[in-house]
Symmetry: C2
Subunit: 279 residues, 2 copies
């Protein structure tokens, strides 16, 4: 199988490594608008060649690992020219707009919308990791709209990589992802801003940064170019979860203000039950 | 040197391991109110013996790794009976009340108030780790109130363990720690509550929990028994940082609501500058 990967950043680069490590592709080419990233991807051996749009369309598998605001139009242009037997998939964090844009396309069946639940705060080809998706769940959206052979091919790829697949419609996936991923990034950005704000008056605040801080704030290092289109593309879900999160913080703040120790204890004990879903 | 450690949990247990690993104590005894934890600490070899209060007072070094609401009175009782040459130190996350309570004690000089910036979301003796404090900063508070020999002994211990020491007064340390540690825990508890709230309507929300979620929410597994007295004991600093954090979240939320992409981008780029203080 030959594969063409659009976008050789954290996700596209890591997927290229997985395809190669698991012997899933004989030849991998990439399409990458940044010359610097293209050169780096070649140096790192993520792809065999960086090619233009037309050349990439010859691949058996086309993978879109592009910013989510680019994907719907790009997917449409590729579907316009897809050939028999070709499979096109994306790996983006949100799906509603994408699935709506390609919904009525005559070649819709060749497309499989996927979201592997993996990422780091780093970006670009140097951030690519071996074994990135192994052990992580992948969401496949609106799978009934994909041709059975295209879906089977993508399922086989994720199964080989060791990523269990679950199915959802695009609207469900975007809501769930807002709660599980997008809010973590927003709170981390806000936490960094909170501390940076205080640093304007307090010179030495960072001398203390310990493990807990690092863990909750590390996502604030994430790429704004990646995350701005995710937040705006998933606007109403992100607004919902942000409202709920601010509400929870205000409840905790009011309990502390009123010395309501029983309330705080009960809230923390309830929060502790998150243990059952974390390793 | 002989050492007595009050509280054989995450911090006290880890400190016992460090004292032993670095050859700093010939004999380590512990005082632990929970029979279960005492037994576990002995099984794990954290201490040579679990002893009563009076016996513990024979040690050369007395270490308080107790919940922060217990420490001020316990410290006073121990100072009441301290003998020449003995050093008493604590390892708690907040210091203002402790330092105020012992301020006028005739034996104040024997006490060294320390806060090593390390912890995990786990608690109890089984959570103790080798090398816990190595490479982490330790804050020493109101060091001018400690006798030079007592301060030198504690500095030597942290130097041997590999924990750089910085100095602050108790009020500064409590404010800084609210921004660097306490807020991370509160937001993590709130984030867990946000998602648990949503889970009441959405059965499969946790199928997706990926790396970013785990990282920002892991502190929500922390012990309420440890953190309730920290939050209430550092009430006004925690209320301040919570107000600022909620404010930052509201700014981001309003920008998203108004499709203010430039504003969101600028905020995320500013948050990115947190890179300079994270590894």
């Amino acid at each position: 199988m030959t594969a063409a990967i659009f976008g050789l950043g954290l996700i596209g680069g890591s997927f290229a490594l997985s395809l190669r490590d698991y012997g899933l592709a004989d030849r991998i080419v990439g399409v990458e608008p940044s010359d610097e990233n293209a050169l780096k991807a070649l140096e790192l051996g993520l792809v065999d060649e960086v090619v233009d749009f037309d050349t990439a369309l010859n691949a058996d598998l086309i993978v879109l690992a592009t910013p989510v605001d680019v994907t719907p139009v790009l997917a449409t242009k590729i579907l316009n020219r897809t050939r028999s037997g070709q499979v096109i998939m994306d790996m983006g964090s949100i799906k509603e707009e994408l699935c709506e844009v390609i919904e009525q396309h005559p070649a819709r069946g060749r497309f499989v919308a996927t979201h592997p639940m993996w990422g780091t705060e780093f970006s670009g080809p140097t951030a690519a990791q071996h074994g990135a998706f192994t052990g992580r769940t992948t969401v496949v959206c609106d799978s009934e709209k994909s041709d059975p052979d295209a879906l089977a091919k993508v399922r086989e790829i994720y199964a080989t990589i060791g990523s269990p697949v679950i199915y959802m419609n695009a609207a469900e996936q975007d809501m769930h992802t807002a709660y599980i991923s997008h809010i973590s990034h927003i709170t981390s950005f806000a936490l960094a801003l909170t501390v940076l704000e205080k640093e304007r008056e307090e010179e030495h605040i960072f001398d203390l940064a310990g493990g807990g801080f690092e863990s909750t704030v590390r996502l604030a290092k994430s790429s704004p170019q990646t995350w701005l289109p995710i937040f705006t593309g998933n606007k109403y879900n992100v607004l919902d979860v942000l409202r709920e999160h601010i509400h929870q913080l205000q409840i905790l703040r009011r309990m502390l203000e009123r010395d309501d120790k029983e309330g705080l204890l009960a809230a923390m004990q309830k929060a502790n039950t998150i243990k059952r879903i974390l390793p």
